[in-house]
Every structure is written in C-alpha cells, then in structure tokens.
C-alpha cells in the first residue's frame, strides 16, 4: 500500500509565490469540496471575444438590404416594433446570425481539440477528412435524393461521423498516433473529394449548381431548424469537450507520460476524436464546409494566450466572431451580390495559413 505520509504543510505565506502558473487562480469551495483552476487571461479573452461576437450578432440583425438602427432591433425584442421589422429580424436575420455563431463556435472547438490531439498546429477537420466526408454524403443526398434540408443535414452528419470512424479504424495500429491520423486523414480527404467531383460531373446542371453552393459553405436562408440542430449539438458536445480537457492536457505530454500519469490514453484519444468529429459534423451539416475557421480560430487564440491554456471556450467565441464577421461582409460588402460565407473565410483564411507555413519554415519546426 501507499504509505506516503501527509505533507508537513507550511503556511503559504512563508515562501514566495504559489507554484501555480502565473495568471492561474483556484476557485475553491470547501463546503462543496470543489476546487477549479481558472486561467485569467483565457477568461478575459473569452469574455472580450464573446462580447465582440455579441456585437457582431446585433450588427448582423441591423445591417443588410434593409438597414435599421440598433434601437429598431431592440424594439423587436421588446415587442414594440412593426410586424415587418419583426419579420426581417426574427424570421430572416436572427436564425442566420445564430447559425453563423454556432457554426463558428463548433468548428473552432473541433479544430482546437484536433490540433492539440495531433500535436500539430495545421490540423483541422477540413484537413483530416471529416468535412470531406460530410460533403460527399451531402452531395450524394442532393444528387441522388431530392436534396431537402432534412436529407442534406442528416446525410452530412452521417457522412462526417462515418468518416471519423473509418479514419479511426484505418489509423489504428496498436492505438492511434497523431501523425498517422493526419496522414490517413489526408488520404481520405483526397479520395472523398474525388468522389464528390465525380458525383457533380454526373448530374444535371441545376443540381450541380445547388451542390456547388452547398460546397462553398453558405448561410443563406437558414431557418430556426438549422439553429436548433447546431445549438442542440453544441449544448451536448461542448460540455463533453470541456470535461475531456483534463485528458487533453495529459495527452499533450505524449502517450508514455500520459499513461505513466494514470491516463487511459487510447480511450481518451478516441473520445476526443469523436467529440471533435461530431462537433465539426454539426457545423458542416447546417452550413456546408465553411473553410479555414477550424484552423484559424484556434490559432488566433493560441497565439494571443501564448499557448498557456487549452482554451476551448475562447476559441469557440473566436470562431463565432469570425463566421459572423465573414457572413456580415459576405452579405453587405459587395453591393447587390451576396457571396457564400465559405468564399470569404477562404479568402481571408488562406493568406493566414500561408503566413503560418512560412513562419514555421523559418523557425524550422516540423
């Protein structure tokens, strides 16, 4: 039996500082026997980004073909507006804005988990095939079935989760290592993309056009159904992701150290992989494969926090802000033409990816 005696604990004031990392605080309730660590810069960043995302939501409600003031928007929620205003806000703009925020948050959470899991800052659900799986299945539904919202959403969900399962099985060899996951994922992405292209070339022009719009990632005409899917998904998956943060912190130390510290490595990794896949699946199901958000949002937060925290929630707020901002631009910045949001996130995200790659080359990291 372990016979370690209790620590002869000296009062905390005798030696300098606490050995907790700087900025980390412990919220403690002796009555409940609960002690939770909080990294204050992450909390502050999360609040700032969350506030900005809220502001972007309000802006999304006010701006568009028909521009209204913030007071007009507020009047809708206090029930003192004209039915026309209420229709524009409640039935058209609000579901779209809430879907955008949910999609951004989900993609960012997924990307953050995968980047930490694979020990690789360039990993995201777009790269390891999760989004490609959702896309292939959704295009299948558009081409082979009627392509109703319900069909497309269901197909995308099934496609993403199926791909995650396939990915896990193919990468499994005495457990799943980070790099093998990435390589197998890139292979799967290539395969699935060619299937999608094949499907599009074999169908008529009208159907192909509908599929193409879905393929770029669009938030046009999102209804409360979409809001329900993505936010219900987040309500289930975000707490799971947060609960798995402790395991994720352990896996960051490498498999051997994690196992030596009592982590159940393979179980934790499988749970994290499927949480990340399911989160990305929900986002892709309601908005199509919105490019680069899952890669860029975690990166921004990691840089701002200098890697000092896993920071799932700040990343989620950052993702929501990015998609809301991109969609607002896509809707309003190009005169009469409305662009799919995926075009904008791609145009903005690609240079950032190039910047990351060149910077990593210079430092000489793998």
């Amino acid at each position: 039996m372990s016979t370690l005696p209790g620590e002869p604990h000296s009062s905390p004031s005798t030696s300098g500082g606490t050995p907790l990392p700087r900025g980390t605080h412990v919220l403690r309730s002796h009555r409940l026997g609960v002690a939770v660590r909080v990294y204050r810069p992450a909390l502050v960043l999360g609040c700032v980004l969350g506030g900005l995302a809220f502001a972007a939501t309000v802006a999304s409600l006010a701006l568009g073909d028909f521009t209204m003031t913030v007071t007009d928007v507020l009047s809708v929620f206090t029930g003192r507006s004209s039915p026309m205003l209420a229709h524009v806000v409640v039935d058209m703009r609000l579901p779209r804005a809430l879907t955008a925020a949910g999609v951004g948050a989900a993609l960012a959470i997924s990307g953050m988990i995968l980047q930490r899991l694979a020990h690789n800052p360039l990993v995201s659900p777009d790269i390891i095939g999760i989004n490609a799986g959702a896309t292939t299945a959704a295009v299948c539904a558009i081409v082979a079935l009627t392509g109703s919202t319900r069909q497309v959403t269901g197909a995308a969900l099934a496609g993403a989760v199926g791909t995650a399962l396939l990915l896990y099985l193919l990468a499994y060899r005495r457990g799943v290592a980070g790099y093998r996951l990435v390589l197998v994922g890139i292979g799967l992405t290539a395969m699935l993309t060619s299937v999608t292209s094949y499907l599009i070339t074999r169908t008529d022009l009208n159907t192909a056009a509908r599929a193409m719009i879905w393929l770029t990632g669009s938030l046009a005409n999102r209804s409360w159904d979409h809001v329900g899917i993505i936010w219900l998904g987040l309500a289930v998956l975000a707490p799971i992701a947060l609960a798995l943060t402790r395991q994720l912190r352990l896996l960051q130390l490498g498999d051997d150290t994690a196992a030596a510290l009592g982590g159940r490595v393979q179980l934790a990794r499988a749970a994290l992989l499927f949480t990340a896949a399911a989160t990305a699946a929900g986002a892709t199901a309601v908005a199509g494969p919105v490019a680069f958000v899952a890669l860029v949002a975690p990166q921004i937060v990691r840089r701002l926090l200098r890697e000092r925290a896993v920071a799932l929630l700040p990343a989620a707020a950052c993702g929501a802000l990015l998609v809301l901002g991109a969609d607002l631009l896509a809707r309003t910045a190009f005169g009469g033409t409305e662009l799919p949001v995926g075009v904008l996130t791609g145009v903005l995200g690609a240079p950032y990816l190039l910047y990351l790659l060149t910077r990593m080359n210079r430092i000489g990291q793998a």
Binding site: S2, S10, P21, V26, A260, R264
Partner: protein, 272 residues
C-alpha cells in the same frame, strides 16, 4: 527538500515476464527482483531490450505472458489511476507542449492525485513547490520549458515525476543528450532522492561507469536476457563487459568511489 515525503520504496518483481511488440518477443520468461529503496541501473548494448524491460515494469507495455508485481500486487490488475500514485515513469524523450511553463509542466505531475472537481489542493501546491525546490527550478517556474538548457529541461521532467510523489520512479536514459556535468547533476539528484526519501529508483543508463558509480544494484542485459545481476563491485568484470557489450577492456578500482571502472582497450575494434 524536507517537504518531499519519506517512503519505504516500492518492491518490483517480475515472474516469467515475456514482452514484445509485433513478431517474436524481445524479452522471454524473465524473472527478476529489484531491491526496494535502492537505485537499480539497467545496462546493456543498444537493442538488448533495456527500454522494453523498463516499459514493461512501468506498464507502458502489457506482458504477453508472466507478470510484473509491485509490493506483491500484479500491476496489470491495478486501476491505472491508483498505480500512477505509486509508480512513476519518465520516458526517454518526453514531449513538452508548445510554450508550456515549468510550473505548468510540473503541476501536471499531480494528475493522478486530482479529480475534475478537485483540480488543485494544498497538497498539490506543496508537492509542486517541493519538486521545484528539490530540482533547483524554483526561480525558473515561470520560464518556458522550450527555452531551458538541456540539463534544466531534464530537471523539469524529473520534477514532474517528483510531483507525482510515487515511492518508485522509473527513468529511461535520463542523461541522454546531456554533457558530462549535467549527467552528474541529474544522477546526483536521483541519488539524493533515493538516499533522503527512500524512493526506489530504476533507470536505464548507457554509461557503464556512471552506472557502476550510482547503482546499488545492476542488471546487465544481453539479447533480451539478464547476463548478470547484483552489486556492481561483485558482477562487473572484463569477461562480463566482453559478453554484454562485445568490448575488450580492463576493469579497475575507481580510486574515488571504489566502484568498478571500465577502461576499453585501445584499438578494440580491430581485435573484436
């Protein structure tokens, strides 16, 4: 130092242990007893199964057959989290997350003592503080691990294993990539942890002379089997070194420590 707990040290034993990855086993039917509260060094040529044995002892590798016991309990049957409070292991090249600070890294050694609702206790705080203190890293607790020197980084990892507060520590080549002064620094630290706190320390070492100096108990391995085991002064002879490393040498008495000192013969390669 005084806040590191005193222990009686864990007693590790194997019985008919067979270990391997794919294909044929690397270690077959090995039965060993490691003395508790002592320093045991595992030595041998590259690829002789040293690290495999250590991984087996630390349950990173499940036995194909036979068992490893800690104080008589079979470790394969113990709950993972409970074992981690009694047996610590430092792998050969541990992976530090980007930008992690020393105190954050060392704090993660407390994982087996924590729960999701109890992420930081006074015991955690005391353990991390004394681990930083014992490894001389208190002043560097806010530094990023990837900015430390090789010796400091290794001390940070040892501090993580210390914060885990296990009675038994396994270390896989903790001195690799360190210069001689830093190797001695790390080994002196481990010797101190052993003598002052009664921890059982088991390490794989490349350097036979250092192993002879620091080990109470030596396990010399060759081709997955034990060639000799016992006190260095009793077992290390020119014949053993020739058998284990294929190296013609003289063994002398180290004038400073009176442990065996292995001197390879000049031009040994040609006469092998």
């Amino acid at each position: 130092m005084s806040t590191q707990p005193h222990t009686t040290g864990g007693r590790i034993a194997t019985s008919d242990l067979t270990l391997g990855y794919d294909g044929s086993p690397i270690i077959s039917e090995l039965s060993l007893e490691l003395p508790p509260a002592r320093i045991t060094c595992i030595v041998g040529a590259n690829g002789c199964g040293k690290s495999t044995l250590l991984r087996g002892l630390g349950r990173l590798l499940r036995p194909r057959d036979g068992s490893v016991t800690l104080d008589g309990e079979e470790i394969a049957r113990m709950p993972t989290g409970k074992l981690a409070t009694r047996l610590g292991l430092l792998p050969q090249q541990p992976l530090a997350p980007d930008g992690i600070t020393v105190s954050d890294l060392v704090g993660r050694g407390r994982h087996p003592h924590q729960r999701w609702f109890r992420q930081w206790s006074r015991a955690d705080e005391a353990a991390v503080r004394s681990a930083l203190d014992a490894t001389g890293l208190t002043g560097l607790s806010d530094a990023a691990v990837d900015e430390l020197s090789g010796g400091q980084r290794q001390r940070a990892w040892i501090a993580l294993a210390l914060a885990q507060q296990t009675e038994t520590m396994l270390l896989d080549e903790p001195t690799t990539f360190l210069d001689l002064a830093h190797q001695i620094e790390v080994l002196d630290l481990l010797a101190e942890l052993n003598s002052e706190h009664g921890r059982t320390v088991v390490l794989v070492l490349h350097d036979l002379n250092l192993a002879c100096r620091y080990a109470d108990h030596l396990i010399a391995m060759r081709d997955g089997a034990v060639a000799a085991t016992g006190e260095p002064a009793e077992i290390v002879t020119a014949d053993l070194v020739r058998e284990v490393f294929g190296l013609p040498c003289e063994v002398m008495d180290d004038p400073l420590t009176h442990t065996p000192l292995v001197l390879p013969r000049p031009g040994a390669r040609k006469r092998r």
